[in-house]
Symmetry: C2
Subunit: 321 residues, 2 copies
């Protein structure tokens, strides 16, 4: 049996449905979340309510679920858990469970927007100008390296939480000091793109790159998007993921401004907009299952239809307690 454990599943019912369809009875889908009101729990064949990821017993609880459910692979759907699973990868491997996650230092790097800037600059990738203190920011303003409006957000943020726009120094100062560990970032006015990448964790080769234009966002997630192709961006992404040491499913946010591509964010996990790629035939669950069997996937970069639109909308699950 090819039993797979997905953790912190939240509301990602559709992604779990794809896995269940791909497993097609050849394995159980097991899901965890800390809330009984995480609707994706009820898509899985079996589910567990677990403590928060910060609980000292958290990893032990996951290890026990893996043993109990004879799980062969584990992965998480939320950013702050990636480093935790990656850090304890050997504990999972020791009991025959493959953690589908990038190496620990890679996960940590992409959580931190200031470190991300350094990596991009060192390796020749464009990145929004980013400052971690008001002095260097004001200096850049004076030297006209950056201009208002700017975005102020947590250095290690996720899910577009706590992002504020500042139109002048008064606002910037107020917002920057309203919370710990904030950064000030250049406003990129261009088209936002989302890229879904799969790097084979047997061959370490890039297998798939799916590019979409973001048309509308909602609660920090892509709500409407359109599939597009770009040879230039595909080439940048191929170089980036190899240099960055990423493996498995990766979600990359990009800004296109005046024909240049700027890295905005890398999430080494399934992105919330991955559904669009799947519906265009880009099947990451299949790639993962092939890798778990020990097979290498054949690269199919760019093999999808252009100008396909995705629109997300709500459905619901009802529970009586």
């Amino acid at each position: 049996m090819m039993n797979i454990l997905i953790t912190s599943v939240g509301r990602r019912t559709q992604l779990l449905t794809y896995f269940k369809e791909e497993l097609n009875g050849q394995g159980n889908l097991v899901a965890t979340d800390n809330s009984e009101l995480a609707p994706a729990l009820y898509v899985a064949d079996k589910h567990y309510i677990v403590p928060r990821i910060t609980d000292p017993e958290y990893i032990n609880i996951l290890l026990n679920i893996c043993k109990e459910e004879k799980v062969v692979a584990i992965f998480s759907l939320i950013d702050p858990e990636l480093s935790i699973i990656s850090k304890h990868a050997s504990l999972f491997e020791n009991i025959g469970v493959k953690p589908i996650v990038s190496p620990f230092d890679v996960c940590e790097l992409w959580l931190d927007k200031y470190k991300t800037q350094s990596f991009c600059l060192d390796n020749g990738f464009n990145y929004a100008k980013t400052y971690n203190n008001l002095n260097s920011f004001q200096d850049a303003i004076l030297k006209r390296k950056i201009s208002y409006p700017v975005f102020i957000k947590p250095q290690k943020g996720s899910a577009s939480l706590n992002i504020n726009k500042a139109n002048n120094f008064e606002e910037a100062n107020l917002i920057f000091n309203s919370s710990q560990e904030m950064i000030i970032q250049e406003y990129l006015a261009g088209q936002e793109l989302g890229v879904d990448v799969y790097i084979d964790f047997v061959s370490k080769k890039v297998i798939s790159i799916f590019i979409k234009e973001k048309i509308a966002m909602r609660a920090g997630e892509t709500d409407k998007s359109k599939s597009i192709k770009s040879d230039k961006l595909t080439s940048i992404i191929e170089q980036l993921v190899v240099k960055a040491g990423l493996v498995g499913p990766v979600d990359i946010d990009i800004f296109e401004q005046n024909g240049e591509f700027y890295i905005s964010e890398i999430n080494p996990r399934f992105g919330g907009g991955y559904l669009h790629a799947y519906e265009c035939g880009v099947n990451f669950p299949k790639f993962i299952i092939q890798n778990l069997i020990g097979n290498i996937n054949t690269p199919t970069i760019g093999e999808y239809e252009e100008n396909v639109y995705m629109m997300k909308h709500d459905t619901l699950t009802i529970r009586k307690q």
Copy 2:
């Protein structure tokens, strides 16, 4: 044929699905939106892309669709359109179309949070303290009638857009002056409730009141909720909707603080969280269809199960163009 036109359908696919099921082939469901990427368009039997509601030709275009599709009733799913349809109600009635909407002045009143406060105070309903200028607000602060934090939002806002929290006068001043027609409102710390009400538009009697506790919000909409009952709140709502002259489906937001109920907002239309009521057997589409036939609905206030949880999550629609 009982053909119904729903306008500005957006992403409300599930609500349209309920109508389609209730019509059960006895009428067509016709939908409009200004965007081809409104997923609910594709649930309807027939759909039209129309200009924005501010277009001078908008009402004529709707009237033509009504004639073309032999529509017997029309209603909108967005706040700013309620007054527009209500204002032109006679034009629809003249061609045999029933606008399912409250009277014009009622729609206008509930769009405006400052007027709402006056109505509530005049009629003995609790409402969050609301100020439309900084002087009266500062005076209230000095007299300890209100304390920080406060919310600053548009006087005629909708969809929880542009709502900001201010913790001191410096922030309040900055936010209040950042945009036109803002109000400053008391922060109510209690439990937020959502109420779905149906007022029969033949008998003018309240037919149904469904109360839910809001557990989690997302993009200004109830994402998770729990059905509850409260005789006290039911009685307040019955008085409120009659005094307010509301008819048809109405969505009311309430805060419960120290056992008192405060009106937060009234939307004279289907609320985004109505799906929860429907799944608990509270069938507004059925009430509407009975009213359109000319039948009076029997009141079934409070006839639903308590402690039923709703969890919303995403599904998607794909379009090729």
